[in-house]
Amino acid sequence: MNRGTAVELDSMRLVGAGGIQCLVCDESNTADAETCHECHAPMVLAHQARNPERAPLMLAALGPSGVGKTVYLGMLLDMLSRQVGDMQLTARGGFSVNLQQTTVAALARNEFPSKTPSEPDRWNWVHGQIRSARFAEPLELVLPDLAGEALFQEVDHPRSYRIIHALLGRCQGVLVLVDAAKLQSGSLDEDFFTMKLLSHLSEVTGDRRTGLSARPVAIVFSKADQCETCFDDPAAYAERHAPGLWRICQQRFTSHRFFAAGVAGACMTKRLRGGATQSIPLRIEPRGIVEPFEWLMKSLSI
């Protein structure tokens, strides 16, 4: 893992001419830095976001490892780029297409994309413009695909990942993904993971006195295709299968809503040598992907 300072002490850089602030952590970087020396966010985000009068909208997709963040985000970006509903996303820079490309290409081959590495400098970031009849002008959007392991290390040991700490403090809206298939199977881990995450988030973003957070949070039950009842009433599903999560949402987040989403119509789990398993999508039929994003945008009153 590469979390330390990696910038060489170059005399030209120390001059500070043309320095630029990281979009995520506000640290000053040299103009030619590829990633922030402090948090490792790609500096191209800051370069591209330099001109707009309004700061880009920053969202975060959170959830444990394996919950399907990459698949969800990749599919969301692909659907937005095809203009589902009244919103359309246009990527800014080739790097913004990487997440969409790798996800969609894998799904079209009936595979799930590779696991996101823990190192921040290897995460995929999206910087795009959202166009909608509701906005007078295109809206800049920044959205990273975080690694689940890194996220929970930060939750367990705050500030161990500077980039996540900074991102959680800065993002205006949050998508929290919860594995509906695991909840359905009776696993309590998913409920505890999400409670920890939301508790951490409310501490970072909430009022210090009341603990209440007004930041909109969309709780998305991923893999809902494997438990169809989740689609019928996601809030009731949360109350039944994830009582801890449901309660903390009621008590700490004034603006939240539950959603159900699925990308694969069905999966089968294959045993591999050594005891590992591999989940294989049997077909791709996205459901409930765009709705949480649209709700977030409306909740942000943009």
Binding site: R82, L107, A108, R109, N110, E228, G265, A266, M268, T269, K270, R271, T277, I280, L282, R283, I284, E285, P286, R287
Partner: protein, 378 residues
């Protein structure tokens, strides 16, 4: 209950003898014939299709507006059970006029797929085993008939109204304990998305969805047919052409080699939900079979060709193959004649329906509908 004519009694006796368990519950079944509620279901290929039950109130089981069924034959035809009447054991008992009506109903609703070879070659096999099993494997199929359209809500309503979920003999024995779980949103027997045993207003001519593989198989038996095999489905869609000395020519889509979004209800080309079974008619196969691609996935009779021992224990391993893609299929390469998907046999999904088939050999040799239609169809 209306008086049962000698012909009906006799025909019934023959039917019971021929199909054993199909008519086990005959007293209850016959009692339905006296109810003034059995209008023709919506079926584009069958007569009286103008009597579409637009609402749940005037569907086949409603009591207020439907015409009473006049005879046993009328009821069988209105329930799309013509294939039973054309079985060798029964067909000789039909009058010429009755036989003609039955044959017309059959040929309007089903298409002949002639004998021949079909190449089963998944574009993206899920496992090495499937690849080895099927890569380039050519199967020879006997002639059969396949439904021109997927089974509609209105057609399936006849099955529900006639007590299809209570006639255990038409269900696979292993599923008997689970049949009570096959209920709609209100707890009545029927497809998952119905309410109080009825489909929603205006959906009579849409394909029935929310039915498991077992429900599809039970319905098929009730109408005297069966689910098409995986290979039969592929052959009907891809319409192979065999030229001696050359590889089998098979279409990727029923209409050609590339996706044409105007011919199929897939993601981005339709309203994002199932449409009536007679829409997107330009996507019909060579034989005139419609909506093989798009609208709803279709159960086939076969299990997914995979080594069950390689699946995760405790996982849903009873996987049956699905073909054709649905209204929400995202990638074009997953809505082709060759793409094979699957789902758990108990799955009751919003986008999975079915159509049924019957072998030519199961019909009366002299009076099979094919004797008058096969040349035209072929």
């Amino acid at each position: 209950m209306q008086p049962v004519s000698p012909f009906e009694s006799w025909l019934f006796f023959l039917g019971a003898a021929a199909f054993g368990t199909l008519f086990t519950h005959w007293p209850e079944w016959l009692s339905h014939s006296g109810e003034p509620d059995e209008s023709a279901g919506v079926h584009p290929g069958v007569g009286n299709s103008d009597q579409e039950p637009e609402t749940a109130e005037d569907d086949p089981s409603a009591e207020s507006t439907a015409e009473p069924v006049q005879s046993f034959l009328d009821e069988m035809l209105s329930q799309s059970r013509y294939a039973i009447l054309l079985r060798p054991q029964l067909v000789e008992n039909l009058t010429p006029e009755q036989l003609e009506r039955t044959r017309t109903a059959f040929t309007d609703a089903m298409c002949l797929v002639p004998e021949g070879d079909v190449l089963i070659r998944p574009e993206r096999p899920f496992t090495a085993e499937a690849e080895g099993l099927h890569a380039g494997k050519t199967l020879h199929l006997a002639p059969y008939f396949l439904d021109r359209f997927p089974v509609t809500n209105a057609q399936y309503r006849h099955f529900v109204a006639a007590g299809g979920y209570e006639h255990m003999d038409i269900w696979d024995r292993e599923i008997w304990p689970a049949v009570l779980d096959f209920v709609d949103r209100t707890g009545h027997p029927g497809p998952r998305y119905w309410r109080e045993g009825k489909f929603s207003r205006g959906e009579g001519n849409q394909p029935v969805v929310g039915v498991s593989w077992y429900e599809a198989a039970a319905y098929a038996r009730w109408v005297g047919k069966r689910l098409a095999t995986d290979a039969e489905w592929v052959k009907a869609a891809s319409w192979p052409v065999s030229i001696p000395g050359h590889p089998l020519l098979q279409r990727k889509y029923p209409w050609g080699e590339s996706m044409d979004r105007s011919r199929a209800n897939v993601w981005g080309s339709g309203p994002g939900r199932p449409v009536n079974v007679d829409e997107f008619s330009a996507g019909a196969s060579v034989a005139g079979i419609q909506q093989l691609i798009g609208n709803v996935w279709e159960w086939t009779a076969d299990p997914l060709p995979i080594d069950q021992s390689q699946l995760q224990p405790g996982d849903k391993t009873n996987l049956k193959t699905l073909r054709g893609g649905a209204f929400d299929t995202y990638f074009h390469n997953q809505a082709t004649c060759h793409f094979q998907s699957a789902d758990w046999a108990m799955a009751r999904k919003h986008n999975i329906g079915f159509r049924v088939a019957i072998s030519l050999s199961d019909l009366s040799p002299g009076d099979s509908p094919s004797s008058s239609k096969s040349e035209d169809e072929a």
